[in-house]
Subunit: 323 residues, 2 copies
Amino acid sequence: MESRHAGAFAVLDAGGGVVLSAGEIDRPVFPRSAVKVIQALPLVESGAADRFGLEAESLALACASHGGEPRHVAVAERTLRAAGRDAGCLECGSHWPSHAEATRALAATGGQPSAPHNNCSGKHAGFVCLACGLDADPRGYVQPEHLVQREVKAALEVVTGYVLPQGSHGIDGCSIPTYAIPLRALALGFARIGTGHGLPPARAAAAHRLRQAVAAHPFLVAGTGRFDTAVMEALGERVFVKVGAEGVFCAALPELGMGIALKCGDGATRAAEVAIAALLRRLLPRDEAAERVLEPLENPVLRNWNGIEVGSLRPAEALVTAA
Amino acid sequence: MESRHAGAFAVLDAGGGVVLSAGEIDRPVFPRSAVKVIQALPLVESGAADRFGLEAESLALACASHGGEPRHVAVAERTLRAAGRDAGCLECGSHWPSHAEATRALAATGGQPSAPHNNCSGKHAGFVCLACGLDADPRGYVQPEHLVQREVKAALEVVTGYVLPQGSHGIDGCSIPTYAIPLRALALGFARIGTGHGLPPARAAAAHRLRQAVAAHPFLVAGTGRFDTAVMEALGERVFVKVGAEGVFCAALPELGMGIALKCGDGATRAAEVAIAALLRRLLPRDEAAERVLEPLENPVLRNWNGIEVGSLRPAEALVTAA
């Protein structure tokens, strides 16, 4: 055993009952990008998405932490054009694509990264559309007091049932506020996102539409070789799963009426991926499609630069036994 | 507090006395690349380095986990040429440079990564020279039963005073065997590397020559923007410090006669860097050069894609208070 990770998780039903848990689930954690589907609800619910004729691809990208591959960039730009805007409106900052091949391809053409390459550009394009749809000036939409972020904060509070403390937030990698929320409340929120129970009808419909959009375009929510894309390509609407920075995952299992939230305490994505794969595998019926995608994600084999198997990752006991 | 890391460390003098420690220091851990300076001892001690006229740059690169920047690649190739060999002899495998700009520059010229770009290519070029210097066929030098790896294993045992269990090893990223060794023994080994105490004269001289080579060429041991390079550029021969994969650091403080070994339990390099910076800062005299390089490495500020300060890393209490 070379290295070891520890964390906490909560699986709840939409009535607030705890199905499974381990560790501290009432301490607030920053969910980071794991709640993008909740942050995208106002875009749909406000009517902005319909007003600008946004397609499912734009909605899927609004829920994404994407790799900056060409199709991700194209959809972000198309989303902005639908509202009569362009990349100059994005306030997320620029970075080289997280997808290594996309970065090398961009460098090979002498290109430089721009805001649409930012892994959050779809969410931000959605924020710009939301502002325009509400007839507000999109400028400054990343600030907590802007109408867009007030709408987003309200959606987080209503869906998770957790009252966010006034004036207490972090700043996320893409410059919007990020609010700490307990895993228990996040899991409840995702049980509601998956079922609609406990949500007003328009919000439940918006959640369903976003889940359908991601299930129809799982490539857009992450990208080539990525965990969320692989799971939703295989399992479609049976699972909605979303990674967040610093070892967070949130997921909805609509058929089972459950929501999941987990945090690896040290922030490691590799451990969070094994953990969410183990929980999904434990909870879902073990049919062939689920086994084929989840078993290798729960037990990844590590190979070195010569392709030699040098180790593996394994789920912690609590993921398999906790009640 | 968003994420939290835990680990163990040992600071020993060359007589085996524990100066400071925290956590489990008698459980074997894989030191990975942190022991490259020990793995390079046979190259010098055997006379192979002198036989092929290797310069200080080749010796520094033999101790390196480098970023694959052009100068690293050039020195690796020059080292091989000195022994009449070329990159075809390297058995480390290829990967794109870990230095992001070097990767983009390589991609921009339509290039592909080769073995000299591998972060371990300097160590492997040294292994090839060692084999040739011993008049052995370098082929298969990564295998535990090859003369090269038997020499390397013997050096690890003698320097750390820890008898490596027969037939029990892992395979490192670059395909050579990696042996688990307790932090206590690693810290003792680095106290010896820094002082020569407890080593045969030829081995003590080889250790000194390797430390001098790295101090003269700190860029070669890591590269642009890297921790080890920054510390040794600032502090020269006062500190020898080397990172290993999965949250390991080993260091020698020759003036103080101390060696340090630490492991972040979850394998995180970001935490291991803060921890070793905290220990170096605590142990070294707080002059201006030490403060200027170590204070920001002990307390790094995190900025997002817009350059906004969004958080910081902080050393754990035990690093400041443990006795």
